[in-house]
Assembly symmetry: C2
Homo-oligomer: 373 residues x 2
């Protein structure tokens, strides 16, 4: 069954905010077996809204619209929809918040209006819309899907395998989605047995690069490992500036294994909190094998964690040198009672991209180390 | 001049990734005075791509498309565009990376194809597309704009003022965009003098809530204050788990004032690193006025920072109690030699939303304190 998602909002078209609502709805609907046919974003004017909704309803039986429903002066979606359907809608009550959704139905077409504020939209969708989309419109042929997550491998290195897969199994629909450090490969098929067979082939081929977690996040796979092994982790961060810790603590339950992070942004704090020697910082610099080794050793001592990660690098845009250009990162992974290992990696792009790549690569390296320990 | 942005990609429609490219392009084009008429996301199949591009070209003179240009098997945008225009395109070379963009032109219509990988798309757009969009297609009536950023105020509290503004000054186009803690108000007009006059009124009306920074981020306004006042800052984080530090260090140049953050996720680290007493943690709990006061006092002592922020709360979904439900946050702001002040706030939503709201509110409170000190 195909469905379209429309968002109303000058703020999205002006690049002020991301259309996160479309991403959220798409993911939920895909998981239920719907195919999302198109996303559209329309400006806050009655003519464009009416035209855009009409076009979407001409193409698809179901349309979900977010935004333009609130008490603000720009909020004009409801009257536009009433004109199209020439009816007043059914109200979809919000069991938690104050705002409501609306449902329009004609013989063949269904339009659902949801508020634009993500919390409210999500609560109405999960409580009232998703159950409604299930029973009266059964998805006759259930489509099965399996997502496999890869770490520390490039899309181009998987592509030949995917091409081969697509040629050999035309009944499997598969796609790989570029990201920063984690690559999800999504398989979909109406044939469950075939799907499982192909999934096994992929697991065998890329064993060293595949990790498993419900959310598809490395930090969740890492958390699962630590909790099941009853071990603790701490971080010492310089260039990632708290991002490594914020990724790890974004997973509920992280307090069961994660002790904390010493974000030693200044050299003085590296010395004072982690015991890095000022000689090392002077002679080798903060972005060096020696510095990250001392950081991780100090970290394990101070926090008494079972495992530790230290990262120091140049996130840019300034601060690069001919020896250590922007994007140069040193990391060290340490285990209590063992000699830590250190390594270097290079990240590219803006400051934000360098930090994100560093976090994902370091998490990938930690996960690899854990899964082979 | 109006323009549409199209993205190709099943990964966007499946909710695997956000359409950040549309946001990036919209923001850049808006700043140059273009009006973005619509965003569309299309699936990776030739029929849908051809139809969607054709529809966009029927509505608008200019269309920019991202995605579907790489070496992967799904990348089929180029042949679809060649069919529509019945011509081979002009190549737009990428001065930095390896991938290229493409330009199609007929008498009235222009279609620009850019790669989907953000780094590559952005570098081609900035080097080759933006300059191209300027001279041959001059924007006759330059539209001026001014964005004002509000902190610690709700959209509903600004709305009556905006309604009044819109009624009084129909030549001013204005919109306010909901966010987590920071509200941007964008004014646009072809009349520069009027724009400045209205801007002054807003500044007067909401003086206590307006901050100024190039990026519209509180953390940049905070950084500007610290650098100009030659002061340093450090954080002690519990529930925000490194997010506060990662927001502050996301701004280039933050190492000029930001010393670091002690992410003391476990109670043991709160005691060991910050000197919080175990009596306080036992009798009052880690989410209490007493705990954050001791955290910020210990932080200032350990880091020797001029200013410090401490945050402790319950990000959920677990860990809530009748006295301290999920979303309860205590914070303290301290200045060297002064008694710190502590306060509490409540955040709502998912774990991720609670963390983000906490970061933005605490940054707002710090900024307010700084701007009145």
């Amino acid at each position: 069954m195909s469905i379209e998602i429309v968002a109303i909002g000058n703020e999205v078209l002006a690049g002020m905010i991301l259309n996160c609502n479309a991403t959220y709805l798409s993911e939920k609907l895909e998981d239920e077996g719907w195919q999302i046919h198109r996303h559209t974003v329309l400006p806050d004017d009655p003519g464009s809204i009416t035209l855009g909704l009409q076009e979407a309803l001409n193409r698809s039986l179901f349309v979900i619209n977010t935004g333009g429903l609130g008490p603000m002066i720009d909020d004009i979606t409801l009257p536009c929809a009433e004109n199209i359907f020439d009816q007043t809608p059914q109200t979809i009550h919000n069991l938690v918040g104050s705002s409501s959704g609306f449902l329009f139905r004609s013989t063949h077409k269904t339009l659902i209006l949801l508020p634009g504020v993500p919390q409210e939209m999500e609560s109405i969708f999960e409580q009232s819309v998703m159950p409604f989309l299930r029973p009266p419109f059964p998805i006759e042929n259930k489509r099965f899907q399996k997502t496999t997550y890869f770490s520390l491998i490039k899309e181009l290195d998987i592509d030949p395998f995917i091409r081969n897969l697509k040629a050999r199994y035309p009944k499997i629909d598969c796609g790989i989605y570029p990201g920063f450090g984690v690559l999800p490969l999504k398989l979909r098929s109406y044939d469950q047995a075939l799907l499982e067979q192909v999934d096994l082939q992929i697991e065998r081929e890329f064993k060293a690069h595949i990790f498993h977690s419900k959310s598809g996040k490395l930090e969740e796979a890492i958390q699962d490992w630590f909790i099941s092994h009853k071990k603790t982790l701490a971080c010492a961060e310089s260039c990632t500036g708290g991002s490594l810790a914020s990724h790890l603590t974004a997973i509920a339950g992280s307090s069961d294994y994660f002790l904390g992070s010493l974000v030693t942004y200044s050299n003085e704090l590296k010395c004072r909190l982690l015991g890095v020697s000022s000689e090392t910082l002077c002679s080798k610099g903060a972005v060096s094998e020696e510095a990250v080794m001392e950081m991780v050793e100090g970290l394990l001592k101070v926090t008494k964690a079972d495992w530790g990660i230290a990262v120091s690098g140049i996130a840019g845009p300034g601060g690069g040198t001919p020896e250590n250009p922007v994007g140069t990162i040193w990391y060290a992974i340490g285990e209590k009672g063992q000699k830590p290992i250190a390594g270097t990696l290079f990240a590219r792009g803006t400051r934000q991209m360098i930090i994100l790549q560093t976090v994902n690569k370091v998490l990938g390296l930690l996960w690899k180390r854990l899964s082979h320990s």
